[in-house]
């Protein structure tokens, strides 16, 4: 049961196509797991549809022969093959698997100390996405962030000053929040974390390491 959802601003930004790539990735991954947010997203899409339908006249005329051109293209193009059904039932939903190149076993982790591991995902540089692996019971170093940080649980669970977050839950942390996520006992916790600014660790050593860890 997912209890922590996307907010309207993220859903609307995703629907309008205005988010950085890393944000698109985490929104698409959460929606893959959450029907409530999928319905909310489709209602924001409906806003786009209503705006398109009600564009003030005159709308832009198409070229005189544009319909013929499109029909000619359609007749020449064989129907696209049905997309292969993607594998299901893994830890990562399909959009995330596309970035990792597979499920959990395909991740190339790098240790960041304290048993915590991370893997940075290839996205445009206006925001960053990484996977975090936190052994059960361990903490992610106490940190604040200069911008917004989104954390989506994919396996296990964590707890911080705000609440408990289980699989599918997304924490939306603003600049003000200083928190220490601790993986709950039991399964090791895997999260997708996205920030629109580099993380700022509060203790001295991690801050020195930050350039080397690329976070």
């Amino acid at each position: 049961m997912i209890r922590h959802h996307l907010n309207d601003a993220l859903l609307m930004g995703y629907s309008a196509g205005q988010l950085p790539e890393a944000f698109n990735l985490i929104v698409a991954t959460h929606i893959s797991m959450c029907d409530a947010c999928r319905a909310r997203l489709e209602s924001f899409d409906a806003v786009g549809g209503a705006l398109l339908e009600n564009l003030p006249d005159p709308v832009e005329d198409m070229g005189a022969d544009s319909l013929e051109k499109v029909m000619a293209r359609i007749r020449q193009t064989p129907p696209p093959p049905a997309p292969k059904p993607k594998p299901r039932g893994g830890v990562f939903p399909a959009p995330l698997r596309d970035y990792v190149g597979g499920d959990v076993e395909a991740v190339r982790w790098r240790s960041v100390g304290g048993g915590v591991r991370q893997a940075i995902l290839p996205t445009a540089r206006d925001a960053s996405a990484r996977l975090l692996y936190i052994p059960a019971g361990m903490a992610v170093p106490d940190h604040g962030h200069r911008g917004m940080e989104l954390t989506l649980v994919l396996q296990g669970a964590f707890r911080d000053e705000v609440d408990h977050f289980g699989r599918g839950d997304i924490e939306i942390a603003t600049e003000e929040l200083e928190h220490t996520p601790i993986a709950e006992p039991g399964a090791d916790c895997i999260c997708l974390a996205v920030t629109d600014a580099p993380l700022r660790f509060n203790s001295f050593v991690p801050r020195l390491l930050q350039p080397f860890l690329k976070i």
């Binding site: 309008a16 319905a39 909310r40 209602s43 899409d45 806003v47 398109l52 359609i74």
Partner: protein, 216 residues
């Protein structure tokens, strides 16, 4: 009665009751005829897409093209595309409509909404060159015989949403247009609140739940 049902495989069902009591009364009585006309148009577009999907009906496609291609072109130009690029992309969008018509689900989106999502994706490819990963597809497409009452209700909600948006205060509506057509930062989007999405949201949620029940 809506054209939605003509020659479409949608199951016969009793039409849902008209909107909430008094919806047509009050200060907006003048709008009622417009709304029912808009509903009828919604149903007409749905029927055209289904004809394209099932029979490759070129006349139905031509009608969709005449109505939607100029809107898609205008949408792309408002988003910063030049006329030539917008024309080319609008043609792409309409060709995609033809090829993906079988994926359209009238219980979850109006035709305008579905075309908006295709146009938005095309715009992101053409203008922003950024990737926009899509959510995992539901493990099934639309039902082969979409439920008529669900489709009808969703199309009516779409019309109502359009009317509600048109009635928003100008400054708010302009912000929303900027968010969808222009470039509004995430922070600016966060300031927009109070979009009238309640009913359509629950309607789509219901359609998703029914799909899951029907298909699992």
């Amino acid at each position: 009665m809506l054209q939605l049902l003509d020659q479409s495989p949608i199951k016969e069902r009793q039409a849902p009751p008209p909107g909430p009591p008094g919806a047509g009364g009050g200060p907006h009585t003048g709008k009622v005829r417009d709304v029912s006309q808009a509903d009828e148009a919604q149903g007409e577009w749905v029927a055209q897409v289904l004809r394209v999907a099932q029979k490759g009906d070129e006349a139905a496609f031509a009608e969709l093209f005449a109505h939607f291609a100029p809107r898609v072109k205008a949408f792309l130009m408002k988003s910063g595309a030049g006329a030539a690029l917008a024309e080319e992309c609008a043609q792409d969008v309409m060709a995609t409509l033809w090829h993906k018509a079988h994926l359209f689900d009238p219980a979850r989106a109006s035709v305008a909404t579905w075309i908006f999502t295709i146009a938005r994706n095309r715009r992101i490819d053409a203008l922003r060159k950024a990737r926009r990963p899509e959510p995992e597809d539901l493990p099934w497409g639309p039902e082969p015989e979409p439920d008529q009452a669900d489709a009808l209700a969703l199309q009516q909600e779409s019309t109502k949403l359009g009317v509600a948006l048109a009635r928003l205060p100008d400054n708010q509506r302009v912000l929303i247009e900027q968010a969808y057509f222009g470039d509004l930062s995430h922070g600016e989007i966060a300031k927009i609140t109070g979009l009238p999405l309640g009913t359509i949201k629950s309607r789509i949620r219901l359609a998703l739940e029914k799909l899951r029940q029907a298909m699992t």
